[in-house]
C-alpha cells in the first residue's frame, strides 16, 4: 500500500525535471480524463458525421443536434411546431425532469421498503440457522424470477397504477439485499464474536456492537446491486401506464416515432443510473471507511 501511495505521490506531483519527464509527470487523473474526453469526442464526431452525411435515415438515427433539441424541448415550454402559436410544455404533459423524478420516486419508495425488510430478514435468516435454512429456497426462487414475469399478477392484485410498480420494485430489490446481509452475517469471524462476548456482551449487545457493523459493508454492496436491478426493472415496468416516468416516456415516444426524444431518454436513463450508483458508492466509502483495510 505504501508503494502505491508513493507512486501516486510522484505521479501527481508538480511537473518538474527535464523535458523528457514532462509527459510522464502529468497528474494521473488529468491523463485519464484526457483519454476519456478524446474517446467521447471521437464517438460524437462519428455520430455527427454519419448522420450529417445522411448515411442513415434520421427516423432511425437522428443527429446529436436533433437529440439535444428534443432534450431541450422536453424540459421547456415551446410552440407545437414552427407554424403554430400553440404552446406545449415538456413531453406527454410533463417535463422530462418530472418524468425522471417520477421514476426515481418509485425507486426510492420500493427500495427503501426493500432495505428495511431485506436487512431485517437477512439478519433473522443469518443469525437463526433453522429459520434461514427453511426460507432460503423461497428466497432463491424469488431471486431467480425476472420481475417482469410477475408484473401481470401484481397488476391483477394492485391495479395498473403506482402501487403495483412499487410492489414490483420491492420484490425485485429485497432478495439481493437479504442475500448480502445473510452472507455478511455468516462471514463474521467467530473470534470477533468471542472477543465481544468475553467483554461481557449480551446477545443483543453482540448484535448491535459487532454483528451489525461487521455486516454493513455487505449490506451496502447489496443495496447497490438492488438499486441497479430496480432501475432496469422500473424502466421496463413503465411500459404499462408509465406516464409520468422516464421509461414510460421513452416507450411512448418510440410508439410515436419521436426517435430524438427516445435517444434523449436513453441517455438520461443511463446517466441517472451511473449517478445513482456513484452516490451509493460514495455513501459506502463514508459509512464504512475501514472496508478493505482491516484484517479479521
Amino acid at each position: 500500500m505504501s508503494a502505491a501511495v508513493a507512486t501516486a505521490a510522484t505521479e501527481s506531483g508538480p511537473a518538474q525535471g527535464g523535458p523528457r519527464g514532462r509527459a510522464r509527470s502529468w497528474p494521473t487523473g488529468l491523463r485519464r480524463g484526457a483519454v476519456h474526453a478524446s474517446v467521447f469526442a471521437a464517438l460524437m464526431l462519428t455520430w455527427w458525421g454519419v448522420t450529417a452525411a445522411s448515411l442513415i435515415d434520421p427516423l432511425f438515427l437522428p443527429g446529436p443536434a436533433a437529440v439535444w433539441q428534443a432534450f431541450v424541448d422536453a424540459n421547456t415550454c415551446h410552440p407545437v411546431n414552427e407554424t403554430s402559436s400553440r404552446i406545449v410544455c415538456g413531453a406527454q404533459n410533463y417535463f422530462l425532469w418530472e418524468h425522471l423524478l417520477a421514476s426515481l420516486q418509485r425507486i426510492a419508495i420500493g427500495v427503501s421498503a426493500a432495505v428495511a425488510f431485506g436487512v431485517l430478514l437477512g439478519f433473522l435468516m443469518g443469525t437463526m440457522r433453522g429459520f434461514g435454512m427453511v426460507l432460503e429456497p423461497y428466497l432463491n426462487f424469488l431471486r431467480a424470477l425476472p420481475p417482469l414475469g410477475y408484473i401481470g399478477l401484481l397488476i391483477v392484485w394492485f391495479g395498473i397504477g403506482d402501487v403495483s410498480k412499487i410492489w414490483l420494485l420491492f420484490l425485485a430489490a429485497f432478495p439481493p439485499i437479504t442475500m448480502a446481509t445473510i452472507a455478511g452475517v455468516r462471514g463474521i469471524h467467530a473470534s470477533r464474536i468471542h472477543a465481544v462476548e468475553s467483554l461481557g456482551a449480551s446477545r443483543w449487545q453482540v448484535l448491535v456492537h459487532v454483528v451489525f457493523p461487521s455486516t454493513l459493508p455487505g449490506v451496502i454492496s447489496g443495496v447497490r446491486i438492488a438499486v441497479g436491478f430496480a432501475w432496469t426493472t422500473v424502466v421496463a415496468a413503465e411500459l404499462n401506464n408509465g406516464i409520468p416516468g422516464i421509461g414510460g416516456l421513452a416507450y411512448v415516444a418510440g410508439t410515436q416515432l419521436q426517435t430524438p426524444l427516445v435517444i434523449a431518454c436513453i441517455i438520461v436513463i443511463g446517466l441517472a443510473a451511473i449517478a445513482l450508483d456513484s452516490a451509493l458508492k460514495l455513501l459506502g466509502a463514508v459509512a464504512v471507511p475501514w472496508y478493505g483495510k482491516a484484517k479479521a
Binding site: A190, S191, R192, H194, A195, V196, E197, S198, L199, G200, A201, S202, Q205, H209, V210, P213, L216, V288, P289, W290, K293, A294, K295, A296
Partner: protein, 300 residues
C-alpha cells in the same frame, strides 16, 4: 469524582499513573492474590471433535488442574496438542465433552466479563477508534461516558498508546494493535486473563518489549493469567508455573513451578543458570512427549 461500580474504583486505584508506576515496579513484593480473584478448577476436562468427514479427534484428554489466584500459568506444548482448545473451554467458547471448568464456585458455560481473553490476532473493531475499543467493555456494563473515557485513557497510557487514542486500529502497527487489545481487556477489569499466543505474530524485539510490559502490569494487578505459548523461553520468563502438554490428545505431563521472576531482573534473567536449567528441563519434557506419540516437532 464518582465512579459507577466498586470494581471500577478498585481498578482505578490499582492502576498507578506513569510517574508512580516506576516506583511500584521496584517494590519487591511476591505475587499475592487479591480478594476478587477466584481460583480456576478443571476437573476431568475432555474435548473430542467430530470432523466434517466423521472422524473423532481427541483434542484434550482428562485434564485436572487447580490454578490459584494470582498465578501466572504458562502452557507450552507441540502445536496441535490442544492448548487453544483447553483455553477455549476456560473462556467458555467451547463446551467440554466431559468434565467441568469452574471459576470460583461457578461452572463455566459461556464467555463472560470475569474471563478476559487476549487473542493471537488483535481482534479490534475497525469501526471504532482505539479509545472506543478500550471503552467497549465498560460501555457494555453501562459505565458513564466520562468515567469510561478516563479508564480508556489510563489503560492506553499504561500500554504506551496515549498518542494514538483517536486513531482507527488499522492505522496502528501489529505490536500497537496487540497492546490495544491488552488495554481493552485490562480496562474491563476481568478476574482472570486468558492469553492465547498473544505475541506469536510479533517480531522478536516487539515481543520482548511486550513481555516486559505484561510482567509489569501483572505485578501491579495480581490477576490470574493463563498464557499459551509455543516458546519455552517465553513461558519460563513470564510464568510462575509452566505446564507442558503432551501431543494429542493433550494432557498435562509436567507441572513446573518457576521462582525466578524478580522485579529487578529484566531480560538478563535469560542468562541465569537457573533459567537455562529450567528451559532444558521443559524442552526435554516436550521432546519426550512428542517421541512417545510420534507427533510433529515443536515449532519455535
Amino acid at each position: 469524582m464518582t465512579l459507577a461500580s466498586p470494581r471500577i474504583v478498585r481498578t482505578a486505584r490499582a492502576i498507578a499513573r506513569p510517574a508512580e508506576r516506576n516506583a511500584m515496579t521496584f517494590v519487591d513484593s511476591p505475587p499475592a492474590a487479591t480478594a476478587d480473584t477466584p481460583p480456576i478448577t478443571l476437573a476431568g476436562v475432555t474435548k473430542d471433535f467430530v470432523t466434517d468427514s466423521g472422524d473423532t479427534v481427541h483434542a484434550v484428554a482428562q485434564v485436572d488442574l487447580a490454578i490459584e489466584p494470582g498465578e501466572f500459568v504458562c502452557i507450552v506444548g507441540p502445536s496441535g496438542c490442544g492448548k487453544s482448545t483447553l483455553m477455549d473451554m476456560v473462556a467458555g467458547f467451547l463446551p467440554p465433552t466431559g468434565g467441568t471448568v469452574s471459576v470460583g464456585e461457578r461452572v463455566v458455560t459461556a464467555p463472560g466479563q470475569d474471563r478476559g481473553v487476549v487473542f493471537q490476532q488483535p481482534n479490534l473493531f475497525p469501526w471504532m477508534s482505539v479509545r472506543h475499543n478500550v471503552e467497549l467493555g465498560p460501555r457494555l456494563r453501562g459505565v458513564r461516558a466520562r468515567e469510561r473515557r478516563e479508564l480508556a485513557e489510563r489503560f492506553l497510557t499504561l500500554v504506551g498508546l496515549e498518542q494514538f487514542m483517536e486513531r482507527r486500529p488499522y492505522e496502528l502497527s501489529g505490536g500497537m494493535q496487540q497492546r490495544c487489545q491488552i488495554a481493552r481487556v485490562l480496562a474491563n477489569d476481568p478476574e482472570v486473563i486468558l492469553m492465547d499466543e498473544p505475541f506469536g505474530a510479533l517480531d522478536a524485539l516487539t515481543r520482548e518489549r511486550l513481555q516486559l510490559e505484561l510482567l509489569e502490569i501483572w505485578r501491579q494487578k495480581r490477576k490470574t493469567v493463563i498464557f499459551i505459548t509455543h516458546s519455552v523461553d517465553e513461558a519460563i520468563f513470564l510464568g510462575t508455573r509452566v505446564l507442558v502438554m503432551s501431543a494429542r490428545p493433550g494432557r498435562v505431563i509436567l507441572d513446573q513451578p518457576v521462582h525466578l521472576a524478580g522485579p529487578e531482573a529484566g531480560s538478563e534473567l535469560r542468562s541465569l543458570p537457573e533459567f537455562v536449567a529450567l528451559r532444558d528441563k521443559v524442552s526435554a519434557a516436550i521432546y519426550a512427549a512428542q517421541n512417545v506419540h510420534g507427533a510433529t516437532p515443536v515449532d519455535h
